[in-house]
Amino acid sequence: MADGPLRIGNCSGFYGDRLSAMREMLEGGPLDVLTGDYLAELTMLILGRDQLRDPSLGYARTFVRQVEDCLGLALERGVRIVSNAGGLNPAGLAARLGEVATALGLSPAIAYVDGDDVRSAGFPGALTANAYLGGCGITAALKAGADVVVTGRVTDASLVVGPAAWWHGWSQTAYDELAGAVVAGHVLECGCQATGGNFSGFLSIPDPALPLGFPVAEVHADGSSVITKHEGTGGTVTLDTVTAQLMYEVQSTAYLGPDVTTHLDTIRLADEGPDRVGLSGVRGSEPPEQLKVGVNELGGHRNSVELVLTGSDVEEKAAWVRAQLEPRLTAETVTWTLGPLPRPDADTEEGASTLLRCVVQDPSPDPVGRAFSSAVVELALASYPGFTMTAPPGNGTPYGVYLPEYVDRSAVTHAVHHADGRIEVVPA
């Protein structure tokens, strides 16, 4: 801990984000803490499938490569790394990072936080069921001196709330301060979406050839913050890029989180100069009694094909091929979508074409596998004029169904596994 604001950056908005970002963020300017968010609803499903194949997996493997590349640099600069890359297996990730560090001749204090996996607490049969934990496990880990903290499913904002509460010594009932950090966390959690990525005002980005920089927040003791980015990086931080991220991540005006209920209608934004936007005035109140749980179940199997329809009589062509295919399709659900009708007299072949999409879904793999792809491919010389596909259909793939559920806090053991092996249970 130190005086002054916490300077906290983000180097990942999802599992698959720019691999070089951890190094860019460490080299690009001063930081106290570097965070990375690797977990989306869909990611938990992907990790769940990974773990079905190999129980030692279930974490974000790209994070291991990033740490291998950057651990020495982070330790040298005194930057703590805090990430939810542990996914379904934070203990496994911490162990793997320990091996990586040893191979590098480094000895960082690596802590992990778990307790979010609630499959055994009333969600049997779910592929994954993870409670969205708050930041106090991270706070406790940092307080005990961790250089690297990895967690499972904590809320995305907890990656900022936990470090900010550690830095400023906030109590668990400092609701306004915590709510301020939640808002900063939401701006940071999606990486470059705060700095011009996925931004409808993209035409105003000063130098679009430069890779967009990742965001940084300076979080003050009263919970207010300034959103910025390292000097010289691409993109832009403006009232609009920050508003975009706030508008996107919220649902309703009272945002329910595990640490605090954040009243989004109290946020005040201020332009504080080039690439600096202030966030202040945020009010918080007591969090809800239960924790949200993200449940993924295997929903079934799916496959799809896109047929290209060109020229005249597109609707009739679509109708014929549908009539030919439908008797062959045994999947439980078959969904057809016809794209926009092509322009008449188009001067390119692509302009004269549209796509007919067929998606099949079934509880078992067979009806959407070979049975589906053969039925489609066998029509290649036996259907409408110009029959072609954007790609031949492959094997089917399993798909998941996401369900939001809730669990009592008493059913969750939020635990910090410190580097020295000590286990500390913190409030869930």
Partner: protein, 114 residues
């Protein structure tokens, strides 16, 4: 005048389970009409307006939350994504382009706001 909603309104959209989430807010483009534009947008965006703007969402449960301090609204389109990203058969299963579709739709905009 009929103009695209995106003439001075920004948007971002995405998925939350089976629901799509859409933020719409007035651009900070230095216009003197900013406050009037915000008042217009907050008044304009109701569940029935969203159903007309995005006909694919008509019939869904639509919720609109106004955030005057942020100069815009958050719209939740319940069930637009079927059973979620992985199961959805929608063309854009994560609703990433929904905001840009909304911005490209033409609406009646008072001339003094342009």
């Amino acid at each position: 005048m009929r103009r695209p909603l995106g003439t001075f309104v920004h948007a971002r959209s995405g998925d939350k389970g089976a629901d799509a989430n859409l933020g719409l807010w007035v651009a900070h483009d230095g216009s003197a009409a900013y406050d009037a534009r915000v008042a217009w947008l907050l008044d304009l965006v109701t569940p029935s307006f969203v159903g007309r703007l995005l006909p694919e969402a008509a019939g869904l449960e639509l919720e609109v939350f106004t955030l005057p301090h942020l100069g815009g609204v958050n719209v939740v389109l319940h069930g637009l994504l079927g059973r979620g990203v992985s199961a959805s058969t929608r063309f854009d299963p994560q609703a990433k382009g929904l905001g840009e579709w909304a911005r490209s739709r033409h609406v009646e905009i008072p001339e003094d706001l342009l």
